[in-house]
């Protein structure tokens, strides 16, 4: 929603943020240059091997989640099988890589994501021509069916999918340019970062084209689109094909990163993951899937180290977002944009304080839930390892009453206090939006 408004607002010069006289092209370029600089310096800040791997995975997931949002957020197509284009792009890439290595062709590694792009585009066109004739539930069901079709054929067509172990490759054996052999992770990170930036730029630019705008129109009201000359099926088909292209790039980057692709890349779990990433981040804003991709990748990496039931927390997070913040994290942030725009900074500060006030019991409630989940998991699955479990670096005896009582107090107390403090947030919000509104009137 805020997107549509800010774009329309471009009609008169928006000014304010930039001194007048700065060329439009430069103005548009500033955020992207900043992003490029950020990508360049990130490895200096997060220098460890694990961080570098995680940053690489985040870059891949950003491309994947943004490509998914071309469907869900932009065109209103709920796909349950987007991993098909990611995985097939990845498989094509490893096969081409291995062919390049075998025949000693003069092709450098950084160009290989183009193979993934073409593969994703090809399968996007093929499967899209079938599935985009319908929208809504029919489209979702067809996407699920196609996903299952490809996932099951990955176990049948062993020559292409490599059976259970998948297809491996060696990214260092390709033509070396500028002395880069892409052995070290840092070199792969920069390769991924460059492609990620390129794809983000391309997908952002797509939104600002006649086609991109008609995607939004098809999402909003496909029937009316037909009466202004457009075939909504064709809009969906092009969106689907292009989303396949970018998913293919993500799959190729993953293939390069892992030097391995197996059938899980085309599977339902991968399709589900990208849906979660886009949704949790927020589908209504370009940055939503980016935020979601970063968060989901981080959670996947960190939570799986900390707890064995990390998927449970993941599911709870998703349910929480669907129930309490259907616009996603980006949507929550963008809710505050009108306040910021109106310059209601003092109201925002008060609002932030009430957030903190409600956050404390909220965290208590969550901590209590985590205690219960971890202790329950321990006594039901790992009882043979003894009664002691370590949660938040505290050793807890699961057969004594104290930790359970503590968890109960945290949950009950957190809940009651949260219910008491939450109205303060509501009141502060009401007050802030009133002020912002009157400030907007005054202008």
């Amino acid at each position: 929603m805020s997107d549509a408004l800010s774009d329309a607002a471009k009609l008169p010069a928006r000014g304010a943020l930039y001194p007048t006289g700065v060329p439009v092209a430069l103005r548009l370029a500033v955020p992207w240059i900043a992003l490029a600089v950020l990508f360049a310096v990130l490895p200096a800040i997060f220098a460890s091997g694990t961080s570098l791997t995680m940053l690489s995975l985040m870059g891949i997931m950003i491309v994947f989640a943004l490509s998914y949002n071309m469907l869900l957020g932009e065109t209103g197509l709920l796909s349950f099988g987007h991993a098909v284009y990611y995985g097939l792009g990845g498989f094509l890439t490893v096969h081409v890589m291995n062919a390049v290595i075998a025949d000693r062709l003069p092709v450098p590694l950084p160009l290989l994501p183009l193979v993934g792009a073409l593969g994703g585009l090809f399968f996007g066109i093929v499967f899209g021509s079938v599935s985009t004739r319908r929208a809504g539930t029919a489209f979702a069901m067809i996407s699920l069916g196609l996903g299952e079709l490809v996932a099951s054929s990955s176990l049948i067509l062993r020559g292409f999918f490599g059976g259970e172990e998948g297809v491996s490759t060696n990214r260092t054996k390709l033509l070396h340019v500028f002395g880069l052999n892409f052995g070290p992770q840092i070199e792969v990170y920069y390769l991924i970062a460059a492609w990620c930036l390129l794809c983000m730029l391309a997908m952002y630019a797509l939104r600002c084209t006649p086609f991109g705008r008609m995607c939004n129109a098809v999402r909003e009201n496909p029937e009316r689109v037909q009466f202004v000359g457009y075939n909504p099926g064709m809009v969906r088909f092009i969106a689907f094909s292009l989303a396949g292209l970018f998913a293919g790039v993500a799959g190729a980057l993953a293939a390069i990163n892992f030097e391995l692709v197996n059938s899980s890349a085309v599977g339902a779990e991968q399709s589900g993951l990208v849906l979660l990433a886009a949704y949790i981040g927020g589908t209504g804003n370009f940055l939503g899937p980016v935020i979601g991709a970063i968060l989901v990748t981080w959670l996947e990496g960190m939570l799986s180290d900390v707890t064995e039931v990390w998927q449970l927390y993941f599911g709870l997070l998703f349910i929480g977002v669907v129930m309490f913040a259907p616009q996603g994290i980006a949507g929550l942030l963008m809710m505050h944009e009108p306040l910021w725009h109106a310059g209601a900074y003092r109201s925002m500060l008060r609002l932030a304080l009430t957030y903190l006030l409600a956050l404390v019991p909220g965290l208590g409630l969550i901590a209590g839930l985590i205690l219960v989940i971890e202790m329950t998991y321990h006594i039901s699955v790992k009882a043979s390892e003894g009664p002691t479990v370590s949660v938040f670096h505290v050793a807890l005896n699961t057969v004594s009453v104290a930790p359970w009582a503590a968890a109960a107090v945290l949950i009950a107390g957190g809940f009651v206090l949260f219910r008491l403090t939450w109205p303060l947030v509501g009141a502060a919000w009401h007050d802030a939006s009133l002020r912002a509104h009157s400030a907007g009137r005054g202008k």
């Binding site: 549509a4 329309a8 084209t209 008609m214 009201n221 009316r224 689109v225 009466f227």
Partner: protein, 249 residues
């Protein structure tokens, strides 16, 4: 002699066993303002759906400037120069007013599915959008989300989206429905302005609006046109009076 803008030849439409349109033949010459009146459930909106491609006739033919368009999808008919509005407001609710109108001008200016050029740089698109927004008096509301506009504003936007593509044949389905007298008067002025030099077919219940605007009136009762004539003649037609206008009229 040139072909009529719209010509219906013995058009029938059945929903299952129910006959909604029972043999309608109608010819609207280019440049005419034509009103379709009739009691509720007579099939007026169905008739519009048949002309604009939202529904396909069970039998009969629809011709647009002499070309047979029977069974074509709505976007093909729109590209041939026919646009329509809806009785129940049919806009893009979560897009801004500006975006609503801009979406409606793109095809007619030849941009089709272009995904290789920036939309904000297209001067002709911007100018046409501005012109339409000024004509429907919503230029100051362009940044507002269409879904939060007042009812009369949404009706104006509905007409704006309809005419934005510059189609020569305009179908308006109850453009003044639910409006106050003052709003209806503004709507009439707007319709007069946007239909200048074009062919207009309009479904309308407000008889003041009908007799104010129409060159010719067709009366549709139970899926059949019982009269099609000049407004003055329609007023005096006894069949029309008993069927629709009531004896008091």
């Amino acid at each position: 002699m040139t072909a009529p803008a719209i010509e219906l030849v013995d058009v029938h439409k059945n929903f299952g066993a129910t006959k909604i349109i029972r043999g309608v033949s109608l010819s609207v010459p280019t440049g005419e303002r034509h009103a379709v009146i009739g009691p509720n459930g007579a099939g007026k909106s169905t008739l519009f759906n048949l002309i604009s491609g939202r529904l396909t006739p069970s039998s009969g033919a629809v011709r647009l400037n002499g070309e047979d368009i029977t069974g074509l999808p709505p976007y093909e008919i729109n590209r041939r120069g026919l646009c329509r509005s809806f009785q129940v407001t049919n806009i893009f609710p979560r897009l801004s007013v500006w975006e609503n109108v801009r979406c409606a001008v793109l095809w007619s200016l030849g941009y089709k599915y272009a995904f290789w050029r920036g939309i904000d740089a297209l001067a002709d698109v911007r100018e046409r959008t501005e012109t339409i927004l000024k004509a429907i008096d919503l230029i100051d509301r362009r940044r507002v989300q269409a879904g939060v506009l007042a009812y009369a504003e949404q009706r104006a936007l509905e007409i704006g989206i309809t005419v934005a593509g510059g189609a020569k044949i305009i179908l308006l389905d109850e453009p003044s429905a639910g409006m106050s007298a003052a709003e209806a008067a503004r709507a009439v002025a707007l319709i007069r302005k946007v239909s200048e030099g074009r062919t207009l077919i309009m479904i309308e219940h407000d008889m003041d609006v009908v007799f104010d605007l129409a060159d010719r009136i067709s009366v549709l009762v139970y899926g059949e046109i019982i009269a099609s004539d000049l407004p003055a003649k329609i007023k005096q037609d006894s069949a029309v009076q008993t069927a629709y206008l009531g004896t008091a009229a």
